[in-house]
Amino acid sequence: MPKHYRPAGKKKEGNAARYMTRSQALKSLQVNLNLFRRLCIVKGIFPREPKKKVKGNHHTYYHVKDISFLQHEPLLEKFREIKTYQKKVQKAKAKKNEELARLLLTRQPTYKLDRLIRERYPTFIDALRDLDDCLTMVHLFAVLPASDRENLEVKRVHNCRRLSHEWQAYISRTHALRKVFVSVKGIYYQAELEGQKITWLTPHAIQQVFTNDVDFGVLLTFLEFYETLLAFTNFKLYHSLNVKYPPILDSRLEALAADLYALSRYIDASSRGMTVEPKVDASSSSQSNDRAESELRLAQLQHQLPSSEPGALMHLVADKEVEEDEETRACKSLFKDLKFFLSREVPRESLLFVLPAFGGTVSWEGEGAPFKEDDESITHHIIDKPSAGHMYLSREYVQPQWIYDCVNARIILPTEKYLVGSRIPPPHLSPFVDNEAEGYVPDYAETIKRLQAAARNDVLPLPGVGKEDLEDPQNLLYAGFMSRTEEIEAAENKKTMAEREKQYHEELKKELKKEVTGSVVDDVAAPVVEEGEGEESSVPDAAQIAQDTADMPTLMMSRKKRKLYDAMKIGQKKKSESVERIKQRKKNLKADQ
């Protein structure tokens, strides 16, 4: 509605003027409900709750400005155009003019969401910040079965699958994965990209189904937007690695449903091609077309290499592109010298994503795998059966949980508790829970902490012995030395501090003694007794002082602050009580067992 025109009886200000119900919005936009919902989703406009619901509590309200924002959306016109076009097609069909209908269908108008993405996420960081929901949705629809009833086409499922694999390949390539948590719902991952923590949830490999209580139409609309968003994000990320975006994959691997592996190989190959490329093309004309072609050829050559040594392929790549922070380095070298083999029954997709992200080399049972089960150099065999058939002595047979726990702890945990055929493995702890804040540390978390401390001591004295050949040696050595010297310094500091404290205490004691002796000079005859007495008298004094010092701030505080302080105390007490309760419960449990 234009500003200058206000119909009679319409409010000028207040909630009645600022908000309109959904049906009013439909009327003013002249669209149907379906289209309106669609527009709202792609445009990011959501209902509000006005303070005063003028039309009643059972209505949904939208802000007037939101609606006028929709009114100026070019997509609205486009949707109308599409609608009229559909009518044409219908008419042709009704008149049994099949040919015309087919012809019309080939020339259907389409729409793009690029502009909207740019509008909603003006910078790349904005997009990354809001990627959680997007990733979860895309991962979910990648495993849903295509269905006619729900209007979910095979093409879209494949697209989702492709996008999710591209994302995973990038994350594992840049070693940006930080946390993994296997819950009942699915597997939570957390990655860190450009300082943003991105958390997403992927479903378990168990088949997902369509449920009645979910409106899949709405979800599909969301998915449409998210697909576009993720495609652009992937594009940007891949280009930051100097890799062409819509990746060209090895068709053989793709057919074998090993997309992720194919993708990682593709990235390796093309980024390597890029680094090599200047030498090759320096003499020849460096036209972009030529370069693209040569690169393509190179990539294809890479694919044609014997697939027995992808590890070698990976290590050939010079990692220059990013200045890595410490955590990334730690993540990268976690599984560095280990070789994994996945059994049939373990969640392959997840592990194929996680293991390379932490520097491990991995293979699986099936065709197209980089190495076979009987490879001698395999160090760990991931298995989820009560017993393996043929056991190699050279490798350890562990349950998949071991990998997740190692990843979360950032050290290689001892495998005894995770061995195949043994009982239930130790509990899988959530890395998203901050134990310190919670105040309660589970047993296993404590053992892990101890192990971590031990590992730090182990690793630090010998920095970069096995890594020298692969990493930038000087840098790593330097870092190692730095951290080591720092550690040593810290330890020394601590020691000196402790000594000083001791000294100080001794001096204090001496002074006290002096005082006592000074005050009771005449009783020189029994110094021993006096000393004891003096100490005794000083002890309650000290307690008094301590209490005073504790009370001092409370006395100094204003009443308001004191109240607040008390409230805080109560909260802390409650927390500690709950911790106590948990401990008690645990004790009871143990007693029962």
Partner: protein, 501 residues
């Protein structure tokens, strides 16, 4: 004959030419007519001989004039008549050049020195449009480049952020879209929801799940009892009016359910009646009392005055007391104010806290939290392979959208088969089934559908009224699933299988 032809031609011409003239003359004629109406019509002017032939004469006059001057002007094309005078126009191009050529003196002075760069004294006006075109050009250029080296259609959406940050607007673009709530898009489950949790945290989560379930149970128990769908009693279905009687019984049952209230009101009425009768008795008694004497009246009036005085004094005392305690009252008021303020703050904080857990009320229905996804103790196997498939992620996503206030929660999310069969009613017909041997009407499903009951159940609600002529049957009835089972106990198993529930 040619003469006649020319004459007719002329007359037609005259007619053509007359039309404007006539229009011109119309007012004159009117005035004439006005005069005529005033005077007698029997005068000379009414005679035919006096009708003016002016127009014809005019025409001839004009045509001769035209012939003399060299043709009718109105017939001539406008190009011949007029011409555009371009002698004083400045050509557009020249105009612009002139504008450009005008060099200010200060500029021209500077221009003489080749080492001094000329700074134009005025800014170009069309900066915005220029910038736009630039952006478009660069974009297209980039696109072209990308297309060349990628072979793809995609472009970097955020690519030009770094390149052309001319102006704060580009550098710090306004983010239009805002988050609807503080709830994160992907909430990580607590530790107890792990597939292999520690015993303590698992117990915690189980307790939470149990609490959720119990809340539902308590709510159901404390709420009002629903109206019963069926009433106990013998249903005589074989009877002709069986169905109707059942119907009536149901209706009666409902009405009986509401009758309880009515009974209460009746009781009140009775009580009222009793009150009235007692009052009547009192009046009789009053009439029998003694008359009031003058002495008594005086006494009463004195007492009344005394009472009045007393109350006045009391009021005064009270007022003085209140004035004395003014500071106290003020303090009380301040205290009240403070309390109110605190209450307000508390309310605000509580609201914010609530918004962290669930969305504001956006529509007709409240948001209902999904159940906690936690394994039961016997389901904990410690193996990923044997993990129970308990929920699809789609539901979780949907609930999350609702929780963040992006979608409006709704009860009937979609018309499912389950709901259609459970809530919709089925048509039963009382009449002679097709191919029946006996004459006695039987209660049955409409024909055609009996063999494929499921299909029928699905369609009947739409078809029934129009397709089946109700008049052919003696009676019909819509029944719910439960009633259907009650009518055909012998087919109960079949129904249970076909009707999803």
């Amino acid at each position: 004959c040619p003469l006649l032809q020319t004459h007719t031609f002329l007359s037609s011409l005259s007619l053509l030419n007359q039309t404007p003239r006539r229009r011109e003359r119309a007012p004159e004629r009117d005035s004439e007519m006005g005069n005529r109406s005033k005077s007698s019509r029997k005068g000379k002017k009414a005679w035919r001989a006096n009708i003016s032939t002016e127009d014809i004469e005019d025409f001839f006059e004009k045509s001769t004039k035209d012939a003399l001057s060299g043709g009718n002007l109105s017939a001539a094309p406008s190009e011949d008549l007029f011409h555009v005078d371009k002698s004083h126009d400045i050509p557009v191009k020249w105009k612009i050049e002139k504008h450009r050529e005008k060099v200010l003196r200060c500029d021209s002075v500077l221009k003489k020195n080749p080492f001094v760069q000329v700074v134009s004294s005025s800014k170009p006006k069309s900066k915005i449009s220029k910038k736009n075109t630039n952006v478009v050009e660069s974009k297209t250029l980039k696109q072209a480049q990308k297309n060349v080296d990628d072979g793809s259609v995609m472009t970097d959406l955020w690519g030009d952020d770094d390149d052309d940050n001319n102006g704060e607007h580009e550098k710090n673009p306004r983010k239009i879209w805002k988050m609807t709530s503080t709830i994160p898009a992907v909430e990580v489950d607590p530790a107890g929801c792990s597939y292999n949790p520690t015993a303590e945290s698992h117990e915690d989560m189980l307790a939470e799940a149990v609490a959720q379930e119990m809340q539902k149970v308590y709510k159901a128990e404390l709420g009002p009892e629903p109206v019963p769908l069926t009433i106990d009693g013998e249903a005589n279905i074989e009877d002709e009016a069986g169905l109707l009687s059942v119907c009536n019984r149901i209706i009666n049952g409902k009405s009986a359910y509401f009758l309880g209230v009515d009974n209460g009101s009746e009781g009140e009425e009775e009580a009222d009646a009793e009150n009235e009768s007692s009052e009547a008795g009192n009046k009789k008694l009053a009439r029998t009392t003694k008359r009031v004497t003058r002495v008594v009246l005086n006494k009463r009036s004195r007492q009344k005055a005394l009472r009045k005085m007393e109350t006045k004094e009391k009021l005064k005392e009270k007022l003085s007391k209140e004035i004395d305690s003014l500071p106290k009252i003020l303090k009380e008021i301040a205290k009240d104010d403070k309390e109110k303020q605190n209450k307000l703050i508390r309310k605000k904080i509580a609201k914010e806290e609530v918004l962290k857990i669930r969305p504001p009320r956006l529509g007709k229905h409240k948001y209902e939290a999904p159940p906690v996804q936690v394994l039961l103790t016997e389901e904990m196997t410690g193996s990923l392979r044997k993990l129970k498939a308990c929920c699809t992620l789609a539901r979780d996503r949907f609930k999350s959208l609702e929780k963040r206030g992006i979608l409006v929660p709704s009860k009937n999310i979609r018309r499912s088969l389950y709901r259609a069969l459970d809530k919709k009613k089925y048509l039963l017909i009382l009449g002679k089934p097709f191919g029946a041997t006996s004459d006695k009407p039987i209660c049955h499903f409409p024909e055609k559908c009996a063999e494929s009951a499921l299909k029928f159940l699905f369609r009947c609600s739409v078809v029934a009224a129009s397709k089946y002529k109700i008049s052919n049957y003696e009676d019909f009835m819509w029944v719910t699933k439960d009633e259907l089972l009650a009518f055909f106990p012998e087919h109960a198993e079949f129904f249970n299988n076909t009707i999803v529930s």
